[in-house]
Symmetry: none
Subunit: 198 residues, 4 copies
DNA sequence: GATGAATGAGACTTCATTCAT
DNA sequence: AATGAATGAAGTCTCATTCAT
């Protein structure tokens, strides 16, 4: 909903910036940061190339913004899951979400995971650390759910669950096979269900 | 061991080619395919840039050769593991090998996994399929071990084990934390040990 | 002192214009005209970039204004020196001023001289001629002092004195050595003192 | 003279590099380093733009090479002057050379002096220091001549002579007047002649 | 076969200037 | 008058690939 109090310009500007961020998040996911050119992103956002630099001083800043966009999505997802009353349901909801995105994973892998892997191969810039931070955000939330389920060593369990997600995304992507997501998703769901049964 | 029957020329040429392949495998692992230049590889292999094209018509062919080099390493590893008499020991040896490489994983991730993820973001060239093939090779071997252990659904178990490896490598890499490899490695070993106990 | 008769708008506008001119003179001296961007000047003057063009149609006009600002400073200096009763003292005061500015000269050279040298390398625009005019202003005044000292060929003497100033500024700047200014300044002072001894 | 023992390629390559250096020295003198583009130099040297980077990794390296080219010219000049038997004649020969170049000075100033002034306005890169070194080379040689003339404080005299040259070049350039070079040149020659007459 | 050099397309980035409000 | 945003032409630099010897 556009607030008519702010000038049309500011609205357009904010919208344009957001368009750029969304285009960056999407295209970087699909092509990788290295293969993505500023022109690719500008074209998708329908912004003249030169104008991109009004919003982002360097390509790396755009990649960083794309990362933040993924972080924002993750926070939205966590927010939705937090409305579920039971931590077990929350974890199962998370897994369900992963499986629901299987077609995207098959084609391009996990947005954050593949970007983290790509950025880790750089020596400079610190973008790799930003990527690590986003992944840690997920780990921390998952750990908290295991803790609420009174599980021992919730940190390790979080590592296992998130690791399984990254692994299944990578395999589904490498093998071009959505069934990987379904089978592993089902296994993880059953695992969560089995917890604390003893 | 050099076979004195082939002319010195060919021997030297073969050695040069092999140097290039090894350099490519190593540098592509560390920098990613996109960030690696032909000049990087040529320099590391101590081969003049122009000469690279005598052995590889395109950069993609070099990347493909790097992938084959990883495949060769994998086959060597499998060959060593196959000497172990027990499939359970073979799987545990595989996991042990993963954990033993944790420092490399922390810095650059799994050579094949990260390369597969990078190549999957391309539309053309078919290199992504080659990467999938290498990963499938590992999956197939692991599956065979589970089958020899009389486990039900060995294919899914292979997916779980290899997926866990890819996931823990990615997390260790993204978090820059070798402990991830150790904890997950220990868990996987315990899991393998627990199999068939019933 | 602000004249309350002109509307606040105009006063503010005039102040803004003056801020721009001063910032331009300063930054162009320190960075050179070519390396100085409109944004640099706008930022230093605390004026929005877009607004600069309300006062100056082109960047060259701003450079021209910077040149005029140096001319204004020169005229102020000449005005102060003219209050001295003796032409010999006036010339010595001029030299003293040069030496007093030695730290600035060491870092950035003579504001007018370096700008003249930079502008002379352009083919179009005529800014080089404006720079020549400012330098000629100084030459003319110095010539007049020599004339009042009854020196033969005052024009040549002016050339020698001002040339010595430009030369010592350039050398001090290139060698990053303020002592150059001191030694040459002392020599020039002694020279002026020696004049007309005959 | 081309040595037929080196391969034609190497000869051509060396020649091309030298063409680039000469073009850079010339164009940078005429346009200034900032206004000179790699394309300008490439065009003048008849070299494709991309190829320039085979010889010089950055534009700054080309500017540095231009500076070295001026240094080489200076060394050649010094070499010629050193064949003169008398230090007084050597200094007068130097001045004569300056005046002989007056048309170039009028249009573009002293190659080394204007470049030094331009480079001193940078904060990074160290090119300013290289420029200072070239100027110091001249100063040192001039100082040595004064020393051989048994003059007191030869260092200051060198500063005075070289400073006068830089000053007269700048004024001739700014005023677009070759007469400046002639008059100051004549004065300096007379000064050298008068030395030690006492 | 071998190799230093050449080529050209294209990437990122800067910036004077203009525009819309 | 004022101003954040827009524009597009350049400029520097990289690099896969090809060429000439």
């Amino acid at each position: 909903m556009t607030d008519s109090k702010e000038p049309a310009r500011a609205r357009a500007a904010g919208a344009k910036r957001q368009r750029l961020v969304e285009a960056a998040a999407d295209i970087v996911h699909r092509q990788g940061a290295e293969r993505t050119t500023i022109a690719d992103i500008a074209r998708a956002a329908e912004v003249p190339v030169g104008n991109v630099y009004y919003y982002f001083k360097t390509k790396d800043e755009l990649v960083s913004a794309a990362l933040s966009e993924h972080e924002r999505h993750l926070n939205l997802l966590i927010g939705r899951l937090n409305r579920l009353p039971d931590p077990r349901e929350r974890l199962k909801g998370l897994i369900e979400g992963w499986v629901g995105q299987r077609d995207l994973a098959v084609r391009y892998g996990c947005p954050t995971g593949t970007l983290a892997a790509e950025l880790a191969k750089r020596d400079q810039g610190g973008l790799d650390i930003e990527a690590g931070r986003v992944i840690r955000l997920l780990l921390t939330w998952v750990e908290e759910q295991f803790r609420q389920l009174d599980q021992p060593d919730p940190e390790s369990l979080a590592l296992t669950l998130v690791g399984a997600y990254q692994g299944m995304s990578l395999l589904a992507n490498a093998l071009r096979d959505p069934a990987v997501m379904e089978r592993e998703g089902a296994r993880l769901t059953a695992w969560i269900d089995s917890l604390g049964a003893a």
